[in-house]
């Protein structure tokens, strides 16, 4: 279980997170929604320790993430980045097998390649893609490779940062379905940040809305449409008028 309590983060005078309290139960899929620039990515990076939060506590299974042994902590996570973040200089299979070929549980090269190809198959890519470089792939294929890399070492917790941004609706649907299938199949804890409502409905067990650096509302996906919070209602219906200012 991941717990955040009073987490704050400011960049100079700009306060991005102003006291975030949130619990992500084990084995559940939590989706964080919120407008652009509301600090969703910063929140995710604070949990991973990529950005150091200013105050508050983030714990994973009761242990403060800042005191955790870094390699063991990160070994529990997989992450799909917004733009894929594939390593340009490595072939597709080397990207997917990156973690498998390094660290304490290192696999031999041939075995790591086989495992990578298996993960590529899992995300709907054929083995002939394995020897290509990321620049030779379409955006949708890059996302799939990123997804294969995120699940390659079968992590307990997977983060998805805007998994459908920049994809056409059909490819977005494919990625959403894949994420849902994989999370259920692996029994992983998932945290997704997105402002794509079709992703929210496809992926989430629970939803939290981030606004003004705080969690504005949180609840199960079934209550999203019926909740009375005006911020949530404006956001999920994409209304220009309401409590959320269009100019931020």
């Amino acid at each position: 279980m991941i717990e955040l309590s009073g987490v704050t983060k400011a960049f100079g005078p700009k306060k991005v997170l102003a006291g975030v309290d949130l619990t992500i139960p084990s084995g559940k899929s939590m989706v964080i929604i919120g407008g652009s620039g509301t600090g969703k990515s910063v929140l995710l990076k604070c949990i991973l320790g990529l950005i150091v939060h200013d105050a508050g506590f983030i714990t994973l299974d009761g242990q403060d993430v800042r005191r955790a042994e870094r390699d063991a902590f990160l070994a529990r996570f997989g992450m799909l980045f917004q733009g894929g973040a594939l390593f340009d200089s490595l072939r597709v299979w080397e990207n997917v097998a990156f973690r498998l070929m390094r660290g304490a549980s290192r696999h031999p090269k041939a075995q790591a390649r086989e495992m990578a190809i298996e993960k590529l198959r899992r995300v709907g890519l054929t083995p002939d893609v394995a020897d290509l470089y990321p620049a030779e792939l379409s955006g949708g294929m890059q996302k799939r490779v990123g997804l294969a890399r995120a699940i390659a070492a079968e992590p307990e917790i997977i983060f998805f940062d805007e998994p459908t941004t920049g994809l056409d609706p059909i490819m977005a649907g494919v990625i959403n379905d894949l994420i849902r299938e994989i999370v259920v199949e692996m029994g992983a804890t998932a945290m997704t940040i997105t402002h794509d409502m079709s992703s929210v409905r496809a992926i989430a067990d629970r939803v939290a809305m981030l606004h003004d650096g705080r969690i504005q509302w949180t609840g199960p996906i079934e209550e999203l449409d019926t909740c009375s919070d005006p911020y949530v209602q404006q956001f999920i219906h994409g209304r220009a008028h309401g409590p959320i200012s269009a100019i931020r």
């Binding site: 991973l48 990529l50 870094r70 990160l74 980045f81 973040a85 594939l86 340009d88 390094r102 890399r149």
Partner: protein, 260 residues
Amino acid sequence: MTLTRGLRALGRPVLASLAAIGRVTLFATLIIGHILRPPFYAREFGVQLLHIGWFSLPVVGLTALFTGGALALQIYSGGARFNAEAVVPSIVAIGMVRELGPVLGGLMVAARVASSIAAELGTMKVTEQIDALTTLSTNPIKYLAVPRVLAATLAVPVLVGVGDAIGIMGGWLVGITRLDFNSATYLKNTIDFLEGWDVGSGLVKGAAFGFIVALMGCYHGMTSGRGAQGVGKATKSAVVAASVLILASNYILTEVFFTS
């Protein structure tokens, strides 16, 4: 009031410069610490050795060739004023191995390698590839910076050595074709007047310049700002900083090596 304002205007850039020096020093210390501790990324080191060393050879070689030739012409024409044309082979050799070989070689590598490293790592930063490395339990400094710094520190002295030889050949070529030197005499004078430390000091300078070039490329790349403008600025800063530091450290090393 005016004095306070003046002091404040002076103090701000001084403090900013000191902070920058501190950050670069900490970054360099981190890299040196990681060089000595496993894991070691041999494949990445090999790739960088090829990129920084082998692929810089043409540009360093051509620079040395033309510099050696021009140096021979200059010394001949200058020496003619004192009837000292015969010093051309020895001065070309000493000038090349002590100063021009390492400095020009270092500057050419700075232009080619510091820019390339900063642009590559800067792009990796803005496309979140460096964050991705961290999430894959890989230390970006160890995986990206250490192989580059180590490769440059080892490759640039070799490049300088090759450049020295090509530069001396450039002088010899001009000497025998344009200045009527006897080939054997030219080579004999070159060898007789050249001492081991002349060459050694140039190679040590080369190692220092290689370290500076890769350090500046890695530092500016990994601290690059956002977007294309951020990467462009990082690339420019890397080349400028590396070039200035090469020239400054060349003076300091020359003081240390040749004055006592």
